[in-house]
Amino acid sequence: MNVIKLEKVKKDYLLGKVTVPALRGVDLNIEMGDFMSIAGPSGSGKTTLLNLIGCIDKSTEGNIIVDGHNINELNDYDLTALRHRTVGFIFQTFNLIPVLNIYENVEFPLLLGKMKQTKKEQNEWINHIIEAVGLSDRKKHRPNELSGGQRQRVAIARALVTQPKIVLADEPTANLDSATSEIIIDLMQKINENEKTTFVFSTHDPMIVNMVSKVIPLHDGLIANPSGV
């Protein structure tokens, strides 16, 4: 089943009066449970593509269907709700909320929507996720008291806490050393296996390319040779 479907998607950026084509007609299907990466050189359009998949930007042309919704047809409120429900983001720069501690950062997305569990169940769930990323002893710390790898793990926990269908990670290893990178990817792989959560990365890190089950090679805004690895 397709969680995400892109049809002839184009994205132009306007730089003053110059139009910069970032994506020039991308067709893509992402299936439930995929553990895949978009790979390509710098400037090829990886971030742009992830933004569109994650519903935080809109295409210039073409349709994007996320979890059955054509995002071109949604208003800001519904789009935000769809993001909240369906997508988990792991930002390259982690983007944790500095004034909240680790526990509160992970809890934060749950507070943005309606409460689906009891307070107790919710607490257990958050603790479980924090434990899964191995930060149980750091719950009360603020993000600036953690290392880069630890912050990345908080970001993963925050992306997973709402149990989204798809988790997007833009260059998740760019700010980490290679040893930490491997641990992080390993962690996500385990979650993918256990929870069947879909993961889509963007990267030019060969290690990720080696670890994922599918690679989408992006070149100059076009998918060069769609293939599984």
Partner: protein, 611 residues
């Protein structure tokens, strides 16, 4: 959502520079505001005290008319319009003098008078204030409120003028006329009844102790004059004199023709002397002349009341009491357009009057018939009864709200009673009222159409210096707050820009626009509340200390007038506190409005651009 508050409060501490800039501005703003308002409060109280103790009393009563008069002319200064005299003054005075809450009553009248300074130079206007020396003296405690530089105040029954030091100095400096007790001033008066001229002896020169007229021009020109000369100069002719003055004297004194007085050959001085000589020869001795200068109890424009209890609440209560007693609440009368039968009775005294035919044109055929038959009745009071009952049924039918009928009757009664027919038939009105009192027991009141007002009405808003101070201060406050709002706005915008990535992240992981709105509004409100409250407390602290110590006001300074005494004791009022509080909320909300809108427009994709 508690998470909002948690984030907002933590951000207040996390962004220290922003918090300090915005917070200290709000702190200073509210500190100044509490200080300024408390000073204004106490100065306006001081000015009120100064005016009501020296010029107006706590309550002033005048004829209910469509102009806002003060003791110093109309409120908007449109010119030399004289206030009509109070009707039925004798009854009213008796009532007021026996009133348990009223300490003293004094009648006064005022109008512009011209000092005749000779032919070559332009003449000089003063504000003539006619007083009843006996009651005026005790009313205002003139030994304290007036400084007599020369001579003395008027004695009861004596003619004369007590000139203000401003007028005396002006006459000396610009007209070369020296004025001292024992000299005389040649005064001119203009009124609807013509031009009058009188030579009035100067009795003294005075200065107010507590009220200074630097801002309002008429106050320093105010001179006290005896009522008889005032009334003659203003063409106020007594209607209740049992023995009217002989026609010849009337003609001489109230000569409408300027040419008679100022024929080419006779100079002003000669003309006046001529009058005096003619009077003497006409009257033979001084007895009739004494009769003329008799101060009677009628024909005053104002009644000033000094109350036993002078606090604001009891002044308001007594004012309301008196209004009810005079069976008129000025504002409700105007607003509701309710016509009282008393007024109709006053107006409808004769079927020959044009307003009568106007009313009859509004009546039904049946009412007209019964009116026609009533006109056959020869007894005038029976006629009035008939008319009143017909009109009453008419007004009831119209539910007393017929605008057209109201205007017709109201304005005709105004014009007739006030302008065209100064000599109205008091006897007839009294009789009509007796009849009406049987029909309408509630209309038992001794005086019709009295307007009961507070000190500021008589002082005129222009003389209340607080108006000027308030205007200046409000202007300064507005400028300060515009600057404050701009600086706060700027600081907040910079802060929002710095946090673009954070806002984008919140939006990207599912935060709605309104979450951003609440978050930033809460942040600003938290800062406003904390620092604003601190500012208010600091202001309150300073005011409390100043109130205890008092700020001394040196003798003769403008500060003394503002203080209404020898020191200012600023007080904190709940009004000041609550006004400042709401102003603080307003500044908080207003200055964060644009930054918050800016924040709400930040796109979720900005999360990706965080460095």
């Amino acid at each position: 959502m508690p998470v909002l508050l948690k984030i907002a409060i933590r951000n207040v501490f996390a962004h220290k520079i922003k918090t300090l800039i915005v917070g200290s501005l709000i702190f200073i703003g509210l500190f100044l505001m509490v200080l300024g308002n408390s000073f204004l409060d106490s100065t306006s109280k001081g000015i009120q005290r100064a005016y009501s103790n020296s010029v107006t009393g706590e309550i002033a009563i005048l004829k209910n008319i469509d102009f806002d008069y003060s003791l110093f002319g109309t409120w908007n200064n449109i010119g030399n319009l004289s206030v009509p005299v109070l009707p039925d003054l004798k009854d009213t005075l008796t009532f007021l003098k026996n009133h348990q809450d009223i300490e003293v009553v004094t009648p006064v009248s005022s109008n512009m008078l011209m000092v005749n300074t000779g032919e070559s130079s332009p003449d000089f206007w003063i504000m003539g204030m006619a007083v009843d020396p006996e009651s005026y003296r005790s009313f205002f405690d003139i030994e304290d409120t007036l400084i007599l530089l020369e001579g003395r105040f008027l004695n009861p029954g004596e003619e004369g003028i007590v000139v203000s030091s401003f007028v005396a100095e002006y006459l000396l400096d610009y007209k070369g006329i020296e004025v001292h007790p024992g000299d005389s001033l040649l005064l001119n008066g203009y009124s609807a009844n013509g031009f009058r001229i009188r030579e009035v002896p100067v009795r003294g020169i005075f200065e107010y102790q507590y009220v200074k007229g630097d801002i309002y021009p008429m106050l320093p020109r105010t001179c006290f004059i005896d009522q008889q000369n005032f009334n003659v100069l203003n063409g106020i002719v007594s209607k209740q004199d049992d023995t009217p003055p002989p026609q010849e004297i009337e003609d001489l004194l109230f000569n409408d023709s300027m040419e008679d007085l100022f024929s080419e050959t006779i100079e002003i001085g000669t003309a006046v002397n001529q009058i005096e000589t003619d009077l003497e020869s006409l009257l033979g001795d001084m007895s009739v002349r004494h009769e003329l200068s008799r101060v009677d109890n009628s024909d005053w424009q104002w009644l000033l009341l000094s109350l036993k209890n002078k606090d604001d609440a009891s002044v308001k209560a007594i004012r309301a009491d008196l209004e009810e007693y005079f069976n008129i609440s000025y504002s409700s009368f105007r607003e509701k357009n309710i016509l009282r039968p008393v007024q109709i009775a006053e107006t409808m005294v004769s079927p020959q009057d044009p307003e009568f035919s106007y009313i009859s044109s509004l009546l039904t055929e049946k009412e007209k018939k019964s009116l026609a038959s009533s006109l056959l009745v020869s007894d005038k009071s029976a006629l009035t009864t008939q008319i009143v009952s017909i009109l009453t049924s008419f007004l009831e039918r119209e539910e007393l709200y017929n605008e057209e009928a109201f205007r017709g009757i109201y304005f005709s009664s105004i014009t007739k009673n006030l302008l065209h027919k100064p000599q109205k038939d008091y006897e007839l009105i009294r009789r009509n009222r007796l009849i009406l009192e049987e029909i309408y027991p509630f209309s038992l009141s001794p005086g019709p159409d009295y307007m009961v007002s507070e000190w500021w009405h008589a002082a005129s808003p222009m003389s209340t210096t607080t108006v000027a101070i308030k205007a200046v201060m409000n202007f300064a406050l507005i400028i300060i707050f515009i600057v404050v709002i701009i600086i706060i706005m700027n600081t907040l915008i910079i802060s929002v820009m710095e946090r673009t990535g954070e806002i984008g992240t919140m939006r990207a992981i599912g935060g709605q626009k309104r979450f951003i709105f609440y978050l930033f509004t809460l942040e600003t409100m938290t800062i406003s509340l904390i620092f604003g409250t601190l500012g208010m407390l600091a202001g309150a602290f300073v005011i409390t200390i100043l109130g205890r110590m008092g700020i001394p006001a040196p003798d003769g300074s403008i500060l003394q007038m503002i203080a209404g005494g020898n020191s200012i004791h600023p007080e904190l009022s709940t009004w000041t506190i609550s006004f400042s509080f709401f102003f603080m909320l307003f500044v908080g909300i207003f200055s964060s409005l644009y930054p918050v809108i800016y924040a709400m427009k930040i796109q979720p994709v900005e999360a990706m651009r965080q460095e």
